[in-house]
Amino acid sequence: MIIAGNGRGKTNLLEALFLLIEGKSMKGAEGKEMIREGRDVAVVSGTIDVGREVLLRLAIEEEGAIKGKRRLERVGAVCFQPDDIWMVKGGPEVRRKYLDEVVMAIKRGYKETLKEYGRVLRQRNEAIKAVRKGLRGREYIRSWNPLLIDTGREVMAERREVMNKMKKGMASTGREWGMPELDIKYYSTMGDDDDGQEKIIKKMERLEDAEIRRGSSLTGPHRDEILFFLGEKNVRRQRSQGEQKLTTILWRITQARLLEGECGKEVLPLMDDCLSELDAENRRAVLGELRGWKQAIVTSTDDLPELEGTNRVWLEFEAETAVNGGQPA
């Protein structure tokens, strides 16, 4: 438990831990952005116990290159950040990004699958633009349909498989927490898996006019929606802020557990300000869950009654020295 007021460096501390373990920023920041204003380099070091103690040391140099990255085969980190709530509140693109992140972490080839699909999509969109300008006939677009379907289905199959695992894990933990029954649904713009190719091609041809007007492809996993339901109610529109937050925390914890189960890693959950906005009962549920982990690091702005019995550390230094040249706090 890391307890400190606003601006005391709680998030920075988690960022440093995540960087050390995963070799990248948990906020998706560039190397350069992680160096403190007015300084040339940033250095993070720490010791990890993986049966034996391993010293990790990593430096971000002036040009933003991260040096000393170690690919840890048996250790990982998953981080919850308050902004994660956008995965339920935001648009479908945010949810696709979160799901893709999990798929990429547990399916080695998925990054390439996604890249290949992206290339096919770019080609097809380029074809649509040419037709829109009147330079080409519709055959130009249609020649890309079979491959868009093939690669799109590969993306969808990987996403669905991982999503079902997430769903199962989330629903079971959700029940333990006393949440309404959780469900995740994947809405494909390309139709169901058992739809024949011809059916999809017909659908694509029906949408051609609209595609030419908009200048981009309207079917495929880049347009798919993923929705969360709690007791039949759409979490995005029909559930409270607290329930949205709880759903997001559940996602991250399940992601961590999935990484452990699927990749044989030991995962450290880093939970930044995950308790605010939750009622006492839900705070107890989340903390109870985290107590079951070998180690978990949670930040909070206030010392709460539920934190009794946890290993509490108060950050009391000034914000200016919060990340003091990589020295462990």
């Binding site: 080609q123 074809a127 633009k129 040419a130 055959e139 130009y140 020649s143 079979p146 093939d150």
Partner: protein, 198 residues
């Protein structure tokens, strides 16, 4: 002026070649001035002859010397089997295997809207015509295993299958003599998907 005009011209022309920069062009030019005149003349003639006498085969669009290329003229090859490739260079690679005894068809590229290439720019119409008139049993699609090549292959398959012939795609797989350990994930994944019965 750096060079006397004829040398300057030679350097300039040579530097237009792919993979040849200013320095290499200069080295080649000076080399050509140093070797016996006959050797330099022979190179010049080879260029002229290749340009003037090499044409496209009217049947498969491979390079040819005359109407038909050497493969289309070879009566020992199986004319019911046609292998579709993107460029004439690909035929050279396939011939080196010695595995294929059918004929070829050169498309002249792959579908790529980013580069402004669509089915009309490729010799697809000519391929369909061949299938209709030459009694072809099987078309083997040997376009490059990247997005553009795959799209072209699937596009061809959709056009050819209704004509009641066999359409096949060359397999993607692992390099022979290599270690699984070092194979990239995509290739290994493809190889797994395309596994064969033992």
């Amino acid at each position: 002026m750096l060079y006397t005009p004829p040398i300057a011209r030679l350097v300039e022309e040579l530097s237009k070649l792919p993979g040849v920069g200013q320095k290499t062009a200069q080295r080649l030019a000076f080399h050509l001035l140093k070797v016996p005149a006959a050797e330099a003349h022979s190179l010049a003639e080879a260029i002229v002859e290749a340009r003037d006498r090499v044409t496209f085969c009217v049947r498969c669009f491979n390079f040819a010397q005359g109407e038909l290329c050497e493969y289309c003229m070879d009566s020992r090859r199986d004319p019911t089997l046609v292998c579709v490739v993107e460029r004439p260079q690909d035929i050279v690679a396939l011939e080196r295997t010695g595995e294929f005894r059918g004929l070829y068809h050169v498309l002249g590229g792959a579908i790529s809207p980013i580069d402004g290439i669509g089915p009309e720019e490729l010799r697809i119409r000519e391929l369909l015509e061949r299938v209709r008139t030459e009694g072809i049993r099987e078309v083997i699609v040997a376009t490059n295993p990247r997005v553009e090549g795959e799209a072209t292959g699937l596009y061809l398959a959709n056009l050819l299958k209704p004509l009641d012939i066999k359409v096949t795609r060359i397999a993607s797989g692992l390099p022979v003599g290599g270690d699984l350990e070092y194979a990239d994930e995509v290739t290994l994944g493809r190889a797994l998907k395309g596994r064969l019965d033992l």
